[in-house]
Amino acid sequence: MNRTSIYAGIFVAIAAVLGAVLSPYDTGLLTQMLIYGIFAMSLDLLLGYTGMPSLGHAAYFGLSGYAAAILTLKLGWGFALAAPAGLLVAVVAAALFHLLALRTAHSYYLMITLAFSQVLWSVAVSWTELTGGDNGLPGVKRPDLGAWLPWSFATTRGFFYFVLIIFVVAAFALYIFVKSPFGYALRGIRDNEMRMRALGYNVWAYKFTVAMVSAFFAGLAGELYMYLNSFISPSSLSVTVSAQVLMMILVGSVGTLFGPVLGAGIFVLLQYVLSTYTDRWLFVIGLIYVGVALYAPEGAFGLIRDRMRTKRSARP
């Protein structure tokens, strides 16, 4: 047992207990935190580990939610088909988009990721027959896994434990991913792309692959979110969602896995607390961005870790 697995165990145990004792409303918030946690980790693969600043990550979140909802409602597909198909749609969209995006210079990435997600958003708004337009698509039933997970997902608590299991699996997979040779290569690309190429790395292939992996996990979060609410609307594709998930990892910490999860937790709490006092949520997001940009670009957690590591190694 190393330290990381002990912390992970404690984290899961606390979450499991909270899920049992909290009110359904609070359990719902907790579910949101876990879902946004997956979403934020997926973006951090791009931004924090590879140095690709995406401002359109909601594209994959919303796209796979929409795909699963449309396949369920319009074609009558079951969960076992619709859910994987939704993820596939997000991954394929990421692949096609990055065939284009990776041709352009670094400066363009921020702009064309935003453009990409806004284009999808506008399609969701205007293709009313397929997407329900502004009203979105209500009425996708939560899945029932019968034999595999023998409890009902219809209750908030039941669904929470399903999300918790998915979260643990996703977090473990991502943990291995960032610790793998591939993950090391991503950090190398973030720090110095030219050196990586001189060392013999095919940088394009790494970026292309990580974009698809990231889209997969963003899509996973998007589907869970859609099932949580049994509803999806164009706002899931909006730049506000992209900006919020970016904020989670900036507030949490860039280039870690736990930081974005922490950021997701802080974000959901903040949104909850502030919504009882003010409806000027955009203003708050804006202020946080300005504050982060001016004062704490690496995120509080990242700065602390950085310092600790330096201190440890400075000792003889």
């Binding site: 291995i176 991913f177 610790k179 793998s180 040779p181 591939f182 993950g183 090391y184 290569a185 950090r187 190398g188 973030r190 720090d191 110095n192 030219m194 050196r195 990586m196 190429r197 001189a198 060392l199 013999g200 790395y201 095919n202 940088v203 292939a205 790494y206 692959t209 992996v213 280039g255 950085d306 590591r309 330096t310 440890r312 190694s313 400075a314």
Partner: protein
């Protein structure tokens, strides 16, 4: 090396234009196995452009490059490493936010079959870690193992720059001004590293510090205005009168 007779690097009639300017003009070079060749010349002589074309960072306008007998002219930069080509950069080019050992692991695994594996932890590949550790040990960097690269002194960074290029076991090594910005003592250390490199490794280096270049290289190529103007042993080059003129025109270059 068992490929006796195959020259590590053959450059033939290489040119590169930038807009209307010929940065290198009909350059031909041949390196013998194990040779240490230094390229000297004033600023703007085309040394770095030649390096970048050989390395694959920029394509040539015309001409060909053969590395160990293989035509590498059209190969992308990253594919040239697989032919046995390694290089260092004039401006220190490291992974600044990572530790020394992580820098080495990234360098070592580049040509290891595991480099694209994302379903197992890197630690599991003990041969990679062991080789990274061994290289640090060999080049006296083992005690800096866990330090972040950005906290290292400039001299140590330059040292790591070279050691990282050795990680992929290159048989042809391009060194772009390895002594740039080093103190006299550090220059000494770096010269030692290069002189003590395995004789299997063929070295092509750019060096501004003529004294260092003459002490390392067994042959010298002098460039001016994108062309090769002289080639020979250090002794022959010292006597070459045309070079005196070039250096007099270009001003002192021993920076």
């Amino acid at each position: 090396m068992n490929e006796m007779g195959v020259n590590p690097l053959v450059v033939s009639h290489l040119s590169r234009n930038f807009g209307g300017v010929r940065a290198i003009d009909d350059v031909s070079l041949e390196l013998k196995p194990g040779e240490r060749r230094a390229i000297i010349g004033t600023n703007g002589a085309g040394k770095t452009t030649l390096f970048n074309v050989v390395n694959g960072q920029i394509p040539p306008s015309s001409g060909e490059i053969h590395i160990f007998g293989q035509n590498a002219t059209k190969r992308p930069l990253h594919a040239r490493a697989a032919l046995g080509l390694g290089r260092t950069f004039q401006i220190t080019s490291l992974f600044r936010s990572l530790t020394v050992i992580d820098n080495m692991i990234i360098a070592v695994q580049a040509l290891h079959p595991c480099h694209f594996v994302f379903w197992r932890r890197a630690q599991r590949y003990r041969d990679v870690t062991a080789r990274a550790e061994a290289l640090l040990e060999k080049w006296n960097l083992a005690d800096r193992r866990n330090e972040l690269v950005k906290n290292l002194s400039y001299g140590t960074q330059r040292q790591l720059e070279i050691v990282m290029a050795l990680a992929g076991e290159p048989r042809l090594l391009l060194l772009d001004e390895p002594m740039a910005g080093l103190s006299a003592a550090e220059t000494h250390l770096a010269t030692d590293i290069i002189v003590n490199l395995d004789r299997d490794i063929t070295v092509l280096l750019i060096e501004h510090d003529l004294a260092a270049a003459f002490s390392i290289a067994d042959s010298i190529t002098a460039m001016d205005q994108g062309r090769i103007v002289a080639e020979g042993t250090p002794d022959e080059i010292r006597k070459e009168s045309s070079l005196q003129k070039i250096y007099a025109r270009g001003g002192a270059t021993n920076s």
